[in-house]
């Protein structure tokens, strides 16, 4: 059982194209969007807690099926997700602003940036998925048991306790439904990377003119750090790269304060318009 700090953020549910979307708000200062990785953004997520100290005002919508957002039936392929994200950005006022996006969220954000160049002023991407090299494959996070998957996602397996462990005080049907929601988040994440997290972005990547900062956990066991160079070479407008020590694939779950500070510094730099 895990205690969750709910004091650092607020949440609301909005309707986007007939689908209910959970949106979290945290901190005050420089406005930035945040799009989650494989475990979604449950209340009390580390990046939300770290927003205040870094003077960031984070708006964090959750994609269909993640963290309580309504699962979508329109998820035949990645383009269904892209159009949904486009609508979510419009509904949350994030269109045209900077976005921090992790893993599968970064994959969808990049796809959107390829078809809608004005969607983002800047992308700060935490270990994005979407490229593939047969000789150096991205690890299949879902061909494992739950305990192994947990150890693969972060350097410190306890970092994701608020996702993988049951919350304190929850019993009976509430606990069952919590488990169902967690399964739904995993379902949505898996559906984005199945069977190979490559939806053809490399054919479209030349269209992404958005300035991109790449951030990678030095101990990423899902997308090897070798992918940092692949992305840096493939994306047309990479302005900075960072490696974060003692961090796995979900960089911001292992090192939330460092990632938040890095984002704040990045958004405060001169090349941000």
């Amino acid at each position: 059982m895990t205690a969750v700090d709910l004091t650092t953020s607020t949440s609301s549910r909005i309707d986007v194209g007939g689908s209910e979307v959970v949106v979290h708000f945290a901190g005050s200062g420089t406005a930035v969007g945040y799009l989650h990785g494989m475990v979604g953004t449950p209340p009390g997520s580390p990046i939300l807690s770290a927003a205040g100290d870094a003077s960031l005002a984070i708006t964090a919508p959750c994609l269909p099926g993640f963290s309580g957002s309504e699962p979508s039936t329109l998820t035949r392929n990645v383009h269904d997700w892209v159009f949904h994200l486009s609508s979510v950005l419009d509904a949350t006022g994030l269109t045209g602003g900077p976005l921090v996006a992790s893993s599968v969220g970064a994959m969808v954000a990049l796809e959107l940036a390829a078809v809608r160049p004005e969607a983002f002023s800047r992308l700060i991407l935490l270990a994005p998925l979407g490229l593939w090299d047969d000789a150096d494959p991205v690890i299949d996070a879902y061909a494992t048991t739950l305990s192994v998957q947990r150890r693969l996602l972060t350097k410190d397996p306890t970092a994701t306790a608020i996702f993988f462990d049951d919350p304190e005080g929850l019993t009976g049907d509430d606990l069952v439904e919590y488990g169902v929601a967690r399964y739904q988040t995993r379902t949505s994440a898996a559906s984005l990377v199945w069977p190979i997290p490559d939806h053809g972005l490399s054919d479209r990547i030349h269209r992404i003119t958005t300035p991109v900062t790449l951030v990678w956990g030095a101990d990423d066991q899902i997308a090897p750090i070798s992918y940092l160079d692949r992305w840096a070479s493939a994306l047309p407008n990479v302005v900075a790269t960072h490696t974060v020590a003692d961090a796995g694939h979900l960089v911001d779950w292992d090192q939330p304060a460092e990632v938040a500070a890095l984002v704040a510094a990045d958004l405060g730099s001169n090349d941000v318009k």
């Binding site: 035949r76 169902v180 399964y183 379902t187 994440a189 559906s191």
Partner: protein, 449 residues
């Protein structure tokens, strides 16, 4: 009741240390372990065994579909069914079944089963499984979040293709076909009976109950463990106000029969241990890809049969590894004389837990009777071959079951219930049998020469 001789077709020569040296028998089984000469013998032995079963009293022969699997060498059950369709001229052929979501378009299934229904003169049962996670999600790369939707759409397409008397368009979410027109048309009208093999999904219970489809629980773990699952299905039937016709249920059961119980204990130990400890050595990480289960199944807490097998196999492997590590660690304290290797399932446990029904013909008859009446199951899939059983032993087991057990059970349920889900073939006198005779023209020329 009706009984099918059901074959899994395992690869018979996996190494003795397979569970200790390999992660899984399914999905990533080492290709280098496969010897095609062994495969050649195995396929021909297995087809012989199915044909033999059809000749010694079984009502049907049954086969299924697996991929990248060391215990199931049937990626295409329809190929085996095609061989049997000619060599088993009277038996019902149960394809249980074709994993509809893996065919693109699933119309291929409609066509092949219609071909088989034509060749056999209407002796086909069409089984449509969602398919295990190992087969569908890992070996065939289907997205776990959409595989069930794709499956249901495929079954809808197949049944419509069989029954429509007009060419039609099908504008599905996953299948878009401008001209659907299955030739040949099935012999059985409106279509061959549809059986659904399930592994424990509560939504499959609902679907079968609502649509009057046969629910078959193809369990590895026998009748004692299967009772809860079958009860779940019958409860749904009852909730819908429908009759609990036992012929709407099917169940798979390993059976080990000999002239005496003592002989059975002696004969079947090795093949049983080969199956349960080697063939079911499945890595748990392949058993529960997120999205494969429906929310209702997650909510119910019901553990699927494959999921259970993989969980137990992985736990055994981890226990064995820990035991070996401890034995190799000279500083470790001894854990007792039997700590190493004790994680394997014993034959005694398999029988005690009901995974295997064992005994002389009378004992086997009693246990099958108990199984079928307790579970209310009118279709039994008898697994009389398992593991690496020798050809002779399979025949011995098959003949005892076919000739001494099944005659005692044949009338079960038959007086009280109609089997609405059994094939309705063409009249025997209208069915064409294999013709091995010489041409009359050749004979005439021979006479005049």
């Amino acid at each position: 009741m009706k009984t099918a001789f059901f074959h899994l077709m395992p690869y018979p020569e996996l190494p003795d240390d397979f569970p200790q040296t390999h992660q899984s028998v399914w999905v990533d089984i080492d290709p280098k372990l496969y010897d095609p000469t062994v495969g050649h013998r195995a396929y021909n032995d297995y087809i012989d065994q199915l044909e033999y079963a059809a000749s010694v009293g079984f009502d049907a022969v049954g086969i299924n579909e697996h991929h990248s699997n060391g215990y199931g060498l049937m990626p295409s059950p329809n190929i085996i069914a095609a061989a049997l369709s000619r060599s088993c001229p009277d038996a019902t052929i149960i394809v249980l079944g074709d994993s509809v979501a893996l065919y693109n378009p699933p119309l291929r299934v409609a066509e092949e089963l219609a071909m088989l229904d034509n060749i056999t003169g209407g002796r086909m049962v069409a089984g449509f499984p969602v398919g295990s996670p190992m087969d569908t999600i890992f070996a065939y790369g289907q997205n776990p979040s959409t595989v069930r939707e794709r499956y249901h759409e495929g079954v809808e397409l197949i049944t419509k293709a069989w029954t429509s008397d007009e060419v039609f368009s099908f504008n599905g979410k996953y299948n878009k076909l401008r001209y659907v027109n299955v030739w040949p048309r099935p012999v059985q009208q409106p279509h061959p009976p549809i059986w659904i093999p399930g592994g424990g999904s509560v939504d499959t219970w609902d679907w079968c109950a609502e649509n009057d489809l046969v629910y078959c629980y193809l369990s590895y773990f026998g009748y004692k463990a299967g009772l809860q699952t079958m009860n779940g299905f019958w409860n749904r039937v009852k909730d819908l106000g429908k009759e609990p016709n036992p012929f709407q249920g099917g169940f798979a059961q390993f059976i080990a029969c000999a002239d005496t119980e003592a002989e059975a204990w002696e004969l079947y130990r090795e093949p049983a241990e080969y199956f349960f400890n080697t063939c079911l050595h499945v890595y748990a990480g392949y058993a529960d890809p997120p999205g494969y289960k429906t929310p209702n199944t997650v909510r119910s807490g019901v553990e699927g049969m494959v999921e259970r097998a993989a969980r137990e196999a992985t736990a055994r492997a981890e226990a064995s590894a820990a035991s070996r590590d401890a034995a190799n660690d000279k500083s470790a304290k001894p854990k007792g004389p039997s700590s190493a290797g004790t994680s394997q399932l014993t034959f005694e446990q398999m029988v005690e837990k009901g995974y295997i029904i064992l005994g002389d013909p009378t004992q086997v008859t009693e246990q099958i009777h108990e199984l079928c009446t307790n579970m209310n199951v009118g279709h039994l899939m008898a697994l009389a071959h398992f593991g690496n059983m020798s050809r002779d032993l399979v025949k011995y087991n098959t003949k005892l079951i076919g000739q001494k057990v099944l005659p005692e059970l044949r009338n079960l349920f038959e007086d009280e219930w109609e089997d609405k889900w059994w094939p309705k073939p063409m009249p025997t006198e209208e069915r064409q049998l294999p013709d091995r005779s010489e041409s009359t023209m050749t004979a005439a020329k021979g006479a005049s020469a």
